[in-house]
Structure formats: structure tokens, C-alpha cells
């Protein structure tokens, strides 16, 4: 009888094709026998590309080519993040991009290619971001998550990072569905909405915006991936906000949640979008150059000197009234409307570092001189323990 052969069989691998650099210049995996798992962008670009204040072009804010489905709402958000960072003249490498797991969480690979990115654990982006932020308060923290990531498995981490006032821009790319696992409902799917397979969702939906408001986020917005003119300035303003900024971006899933009966489809969101305001972000001391009709604009000055010019679309909406915002949202949600815009901002926001009273120098730069109390102190400690 043939039996099992005892002993350990070590995996023998050919020792080639293990990294692209073995063949210089080969940036795109995809040669015969190699599984294509990422796509790098070609390096050339137009010599006449516009440059921002720091001399960076759009291309400097881009990343690898997206591997998401053609027409995915998430790619529009990626484009908006690129646009916002370009407009703000951020040094790309001073941004840390952190995400969880899922379609949305893959996107940090598709923007800011010269930034460090961290595709962490499902639902745990907020804690990783919190730790990163504690280590170096000087970087810009961009958290990218999805509705499964933030409203289901990571609902707790979402909530606690908001209530801790971590200085971050937290973007949820909200499509109400699990894309990578092929179309299950997520916790933001509205009750009564239908899945692609025709199943009706009987569970109540979690509105992350409402929760963020309740937990004390100091910048709360909602937008639609199909409305870049609304989304870009919201992202820019959120980045300039010192405190917990949260943006819920409804981002239709072209593959699994863009059908009739879905409340997260392009058509549904366009029809039910109720924008309360439009935003312009003004950085620097330039006077407001856009002409606004009197009484229609509200200027909010943030801690860092940036100004947010809010064009009111709903005359009664006050983005400084947290309670009012919560009520407004509830009322409109009951009518089936999706309220978008800058929903709440506290220009005097504080962040976790303020609360912990940490030194201005990033903790990750402190050395033994700064951190170690030394042997003389230890001798005293020893003496007190006898």
C-alpha cells in the first residue's frame, strides 16, 4: 500500500521572477507565467501640465492604475482626492494614507504614489491611523474606508476614533454593499432596498453621518462620488480642518448595487440628492474673488487660517448647529432624501494631541536623550523601593 512519505518537503522555487527589479525597468508584471496583480502607470507626462504653488503637477498626486471596475464610484473619489491635494499644494509625501480592507480600502494605492500607504486589517483603519497620528503629529492623515469596513466590522473603531478627536480626514466610500465578496448587503444599506439578486433588506440602516455628529466629529460632510464639484472642496476643507473630519461619500457600486430598487445607485442618488450648500476653500490671504450674491454666503475661518466660503442652497441650514443638523438629517432621511454638503463644522476644534498635551516635536523623532531618565534617576527609584 502506498503510504505517506515521512519527512519535510521544502518548497523549491526557481529563485527568479520574484521581483521586478531583477529585470531593470520591468515595472509591469504580466510577462508569461507571472500573475498580473498590479498595474503601474507609465512614467511620461505632458510637458505643459499645470503646476501648483509647490511646482507639483497633477501627475505627482496620482498613484497606480486602479484595478476597480470601470465606472466604479470609488475611482471618482480617488480623482477628487488627487484634485483636492493638488489644489491645496500639499507635499504628497507628507500624507499618510491608511485604509482597512475592501474595494474602497484598495484605493490608496491609486493616488499619492509617493506617500506611504497602509492597507491594514478589515475595519481597523481607525486604530492604525490613531497610532500613526500619535507617533507623528506633523503628517496629514487620510483614512479611507468603506461601509462594510466602517459600519459593520469596524463600527466600534469608527466611533471611537471620532470621539477621540483624532486629527484626520476620514472618508467612507459608501456603496451599501460588499463588492469584493459579490454583493451582500452592508450595514448602510437602507431598509427596503433590494439587492441585485432581488433580496429585500429588512435590517435598519446605519447613518454614519448621524453617528459622527452624535459622537462629536468637528467636521461632518456628505457627498456623492458623481458630484466632483461638491466633493473636491469638501475633501480640501476636511484636510485643512484640525480635528476629526468625516466625509460620507455615496459611491455607487457599478457591479452589485446600481440597479432599480437600490438606494445607492447613480440614478437614485441623483434624484434624491438634497445639497444644503456649496463650498469654496480659500487658502492664504487672498481676498474672496468670487462674487456671491449678498446674504447667500457664509465664511468660516478655520484654525489654520483657511477659509471656507459656504454658498447656501438651503437658506435655513446652519452648519454650526450640531443639534439642528441632526434634526435636519433625520427629517430629510424620513422623506427619502439624501442630504449632502458641509453639514457641520466647528472652527475651534481640538484634537487628540491637544487632549493628551503632547510635545510639539513628533514622538517618533525623540531619542534616548529625550526619553530615557538615566541611571541617576534609576538609583533614586531603587532607593525608594527598599
Amino acid at each position: 500500500m502506498p503510504g505517506l512519505v515521512p519527512g519535510i518537503h521544502d518548497f523549491l522555487f526557481p529563485g527568479q521572477d520574484v521581483d521586478g527589479r531583477d529585470k531593470p525597468g520591468r515595472d509591469v508584471a504580466g510577462t508569461a507565467g507571472v500573475v498580473m496583480t498590479y498595474i503601474a502607470k507609465p512614467k511620461f507626462h505632458h510637458p505643459g501640465l499645470k503646476k501648483n504653488e509647490l511646482g507639483y503637477t497633477h501627475r505627482d498626486y496620482e498613484g497606480k492604475i486602479s484595478t476597480l471596475c470601470a465606472g466604479c464610484g470609488h475611482d471618482s473619489i480617488t480623482a477628487s482626492i488627487i484634485e483636492a491635494c493638488y489644489e491645496l499644494s500639499i507635499e504628497p509625501h507628507r500624507v499618510a494614507k491608511i485604509s482597512g480592507i475592501g474595494c474602497s480600502s484598495k484605493t490608496p494605492d491609486y493616488f499619492l504614489g509617493n506617500s506611504h500607504g497602509f492597507n491594514s486589517v478589515h475595519g481597523r483603519m481607525p486604530s492604525v491611523l490613531t497610532g500613526a497620528n500619535l507617533a507623528n503629529r506633523d503628517l496629514i492623515y487620510l483614512g479611507v474606508s468603506g461601509d462594510g469596513d466602517s459600519a459593520s466590522i469596524g463600527f466600534g473603531q469608527f466611533a471611537h476614533s471620532i470621539r477621540r478627536a483624532v486629527n484626520m480626514t476620514y472618508i467612507v466610500e459608501n456603496n451599501g454593499v460588499y463588492g469584493l465578496t459579490k454583493g451582500q448587503f452592508s450595514a448602510t444599506a437602507d431598509r427596503g432596498s433590494k439587492s441585485k439578486k432581488g433580496v429585500t433588506n429588512t435590517d435598519n440602516a446605519i447613518d454614519l453621518v448621524a453617528i459622527a455628529l452624535q459622537l462629536g466629529a468637528t467636521f461632518v460632510a456628505r457627498s456623492f462620488s458623481g458630484d466632483k464639484t461638491q466633493l473636491v472642496p469638501l475633501i480640501a476643507a476636511a484636510i485643512r480642518h484640525k480635528g476629526a473630519s468625516f466625509i460620507d461619500v455615496i459611491s455607487p457600486c457599478i457591479a452589485f448595487n446600481n440597479h432599480a430598487g437600490s438606494t445607492k445607485s447613480f440614478d437614485y442618488v441623483r434624484e434624491h440628492n438634497d445639497a444644503v450648500n456649496r463650498l469654496d476653500v480659500l487658502v492664504g490671504r487672498d481676498p474672496i474673488s468670487v462674487d456671491y450674491a449678498p446674504g447667500t454666503v457664509q465664511v468660516v475661518e478655520q484654525h489654520d487660517g483657511s477659509r471656507l466660503a459656504l454658498r447656501k442652497l438651503d437658506a435655513d441650514y446652519d452648519p454650526h448647529d450640531r443639534l439642528g443638523a441632526m434634526t435636519f438629517l433625520q427629517k430629510h432621511a424620513a422623506k427619502g432624501q439624501i442630504v449632502t454638503g458641509l453639514l457641520y463644522v466647528d472652527p475651534e476644534a481640538e484634537d487628540l494631541h491637544t487632549h493628551l498635551d503632547t510635545v510639539e516635536t513628533p514622538l517618533n523623532t525623540l531619542d534616548e536623550q529625550a526619553l530615557c531618565p538615566g541611571s541617576a534617576v534609576l538609583d533614586k527609584i531603587n532607593a525608594s523601593l527598599r
Binding site: 520574484v18 521581483d19 507623528n136 498635551d357 526619553l371 541611571s375
Partner: protein, 615 residues
Amino acid sequence: MSVQSPISSVNDFVVRFANVNGSGSASANELFARSILRHGVPVSPRNIFPSNIQGLPTWYEVRVTEDGHLGARGAVDMMVAMNPQTWDKDVASIEPGGYLFYDSTKPMPTSKFREDITVIGVPLTAITNSTYTDPRQRQLFKNIIYLGALCALLDLDPKLVEQLIGEQYKGKEKLLSSNVHALHLGRDWALQNLKCPIGLRVKKSDKVGDRIFIEGNSAAALGAVYGGATVCAWYPITPSSSVAEAFTSHCKKYRHDPETGKAKYAIVQGEDELASIGIVIGASWNGARAFTATSGPGISLMTEFIGLSYFAEIPAVIMNIQRAGPSTGMPTRTQQCDVIACAYASHGDTKHVLLFPEDPAEAFEFAAAAFDLAERLQTTIFLMLDLDIGMNHRLCRPLKWDDAKQYDRGKVMTAEMLEEGRDFGRYLDVDGDGIPYRTYPGTHPTKGSYFTRGTSRDRYARYSEEGAVYADNMQRLVRKFETAQDMVPRPLQANAAKPTKYGVLYFGSTSPAMDEAIGILEARGHQLDRMRIRAFPFHSSVASFIADHDFVYVVEQNRDAQLRQLIVNENGIDPVRLVPILHYDGTPITARFIANAIGDHQDHLKVTPLRKAVT
């Protein structure tokens, strides 16, 4: 019935206090232990407490040991029975010839006592109530009054106790004098009404030396301060919470900028253990030294992140103050039961570095070293304490720090190195030790960035599901673990006086009991070479030690012989050659237990030749 003569012993006995938790007895009991130390006599105290805030029984056991045996001894020579709830069991646990000290205010039926012990009644409640009116004062000073009575009974020098009280209430004159007053109330009553001293006595000695008296958790936290930890994220869980609390208090004293008063540290109490380890990993990824402290259930929750730390190669330090599992287990009882859970934590093929300190002094050293190791090896380092080391005061050598020491920040590629044109591949093994270079976020505008992920990737951190790429990386991780073997604390070996075929392996809090057991075994004619394992991966000397002996006992505090399993598994040792000696009832292992178990086994080895047995 034969009359049992009372135990007579100087500087070698066990006193156990039976109290109700929340009654304020802890500080009086600790004062008792410390005052014996001030006589130059070593003590080894242990808290035995429930997972509860008020009302349930607690015990505090003080082993007075001129010979310096710091392990638990087992058995009680004198019971200070202050808890009616546990009276019967407490009385029953006294050694024949031992002493029972109790509050005699209310008369007790003789059936509640034993004839073979000496019963010492002191009307504590009556003395207290005639002196104090405030109920809280009555409760607290009753503890000091029994301490005073014990002073007289055990022949303690009241001046040394007063001195300690003076240090404790420095600057609080009113508290100081009232405590001293209560102490004398008890002492005077005993001197006037009882035959003092009894057979158990404390005599001044010089066996304490320059040793210090500290809890392992506090020492580990201090190690984190000295080791440069700046971020601590934790979630309360017995018996680890006092690590984070001690870190907080040490940082308040030693880690504020003298000019601005601002904190050179950040401590976050997470919403759970997942968040705690997530924060640690985020901070470490970004170049800060970060740690968390937890216990078994927390380890279970952290395992997904631990796998990320292993695979994405992010430093992390986890202090695991082990308690009896599985599940909620016995939260306030000690065990060494997470060896396997930590060594192989997380799904997929993983291996993690474990450090096993034996006492607070090593907890301090290993905690500081853990941060160097974590950054050098870019992986999770477990500091494996247990409740016995962590939550009890232990006499140990003074803590030491070399001011010339610089932190080993590991292989970090700087902006300058990138400018020089050094090839940066996040998972590229440039030195053949399996350890790649990393960069901190924000280092350079165009060079050195990479995408960290828990998915498979190539040497340049690019996503890949290609088999060869994956295997290449997994094999490098094995190389890295082999590199770790020579970086972690080596095992310590002590050979028996005479050559022997038998050895013993042990680790962590078993240490003092093992040392003591060796003496007992020698007296019984059993010679054993011993080796204390201080880390995993095991140094090659562990395998040689086993090879050098016919067989080796492996002493540990868990049911499944976890260290033995790990040795068998990692070193390919024939399990027959490793004899498990297992103690796992939640109490600290004792020398008596080890000596009996090994001694019995050794006695069985002395087989009578077959022919002799037949005839």
C-alpha cells in the same frame, strides 16, 4: 490525643492574612511584609484575590525566609483570620503546631478551633470601637491594630515599623501619628495580655542587602519608559492593567518636557484589545516605540493584528501578563498558559519572539530590550510575565541602566541614504539576515515610499499572488526568525555538583521555586543540571542541553506542557526524552511540588533488577 508542640522557627515561616476585599487590609499587610524586610530578613508576599471589588475573600501570604527562597512555599504556619466567611477553611489550612490569630471580641464555640494549634485571640473590634467612632476609621485602624499585636507576637522591632509608617505618611502629620498610635494600641494590648513572643519570631539579619521590593508590572512599565516607548495603548484586563497604570505614573514623573511641561508620550485607553494593538501597530509603522499590555483573552482578540505585524513586518511590543485560561478562566490566578498561543499567534504560518523574565529585575531589562528587538526584527515581541511576577512585590536585584546605551532603531533608511541612491526594497534581504530596510512615512518627496499591506507582495512591496514570490518572502521570514535566535536573551545553565544524566528546563516565574527545589532534591540524593529558558526562538544550547542528558524534566505552569510542545516541535526532540512536570491549579508553583514530582519520578527510576525482584 498527642499534644502537638507549637512550631518554633526564627525567620522561616509563612503568615497568611485572610481578609475581606475592600476592607483596607492590603496596605497594613504590605506594611507587615516591608517591616520584616527592614529587619534584613527576606520576604516573599503574594496576593490571593478574587475578581471582585468588595466583599469577597482575599488572602495575603507572607513567606518569611532567611534563606531567601522567594517562591511560594505552601502551607501556613500562622493564620491571621479576619474573615468569618472563610474561617473554617482558613483554620483547617494551618499546619499542625501552627498559630491562629483572630478577633476575640465575640466569643467563638470551641468547635470552631483545633486542638493541635495555638489560638491567639485579640479583641480587635472592642479595642477599635473604644478608641474610634468613625466607621471607616474603625475599619482601617483595626488593620493597624492587628499589625501592632503581630509586632509583639513575632518580636518585631516597633521602631522599624514606625519608621516605615513615617515614610508612608511623610508630610501628613495627622495620619502619621494616628497610625503610630493604633500600632501601639495593638502592641501594648498583646504585651500585657499574651505570652510574647510566640514560637515564630523575626530576628534581625543581613540577608536583604541592596535588593529592592517591586511588582513585576511596575518594573516592566519602567522598562518601557527606559526603553523609549512613547505610545502605549491598552484595554483594562486583570492582571495587566497595572502595567499601563504604572507606565502612566512613571511617565508623569519622568517624561514631561521641563520647559513646556508637555508630555513626551501618548497613552490611550482603547475601546478594546483590537484597537490597542491597532494603535501600537500604527504608531510603530510610523516610527514610534509603542506597546500594549494585556492578558490571555486580549491576546486572543489581537491575533489578527499580530499576524499583520509578522507578515507586513511592523514592530510591536505586547506585554502578556498571563492568567489562568482558557476563556475567562481564573482571571486572578496565575499560570504560564499562553506559550503556544503567543508563539504561533494568528492564522497562517507565523512564529513570534517570546521573552520570559523570571522576576521584576528581568521584567525591567527585557521590557527595555523588547523595543530594540521589535525594531531590529520588525515584528511582534511578547514579554511573557504572569500574575505571580506581575502583581506581587518581589525582592530582586536593583534595576540597572547603562547611560552609554543607545537605542537600536533597526534598519531604517533615511532621506540621506535614499539620496545617495541606495536601492530600497521594503522586503529586500540586503544583508542575508532576513531583515529588510524600512522607511518612515514622510521621509523623502520621491523616494522610499511603499504600500504596507497584509497581502502577499514582492521584495519591492508590490502586490503579488505569484507562488514563487510568496514563498520567497515566507522563507525570508524564517531566516529572520533564525537571526532572532542569537539576539534574544540566552538560556542560563547551572550544573549539579556531581555529573548527572538528568536535567531540568524551566522558565519565568517558576524560577525561585525551582532554585529551592534543587536544594531539596539534592538532599534527597537527586542531582539535576538545570537550564532556565529566557526566550523563544530557542538558542541552540537548549537542544545541546537535552542531548547531553538521558532525559530532561520540563517544569511549567500549565496543563498541556506548552513549552515542552514548543521544544519538541521546534527542535525535533523525541518527546519521550522530555518529562513534563505540570502545575496548573492557579496557585504559584512551589518548591515542594517540584521536588516531590521530580523526586518521585527519580525514585521510580531506581528499578530493582528483575532477577532480584523475582527471587
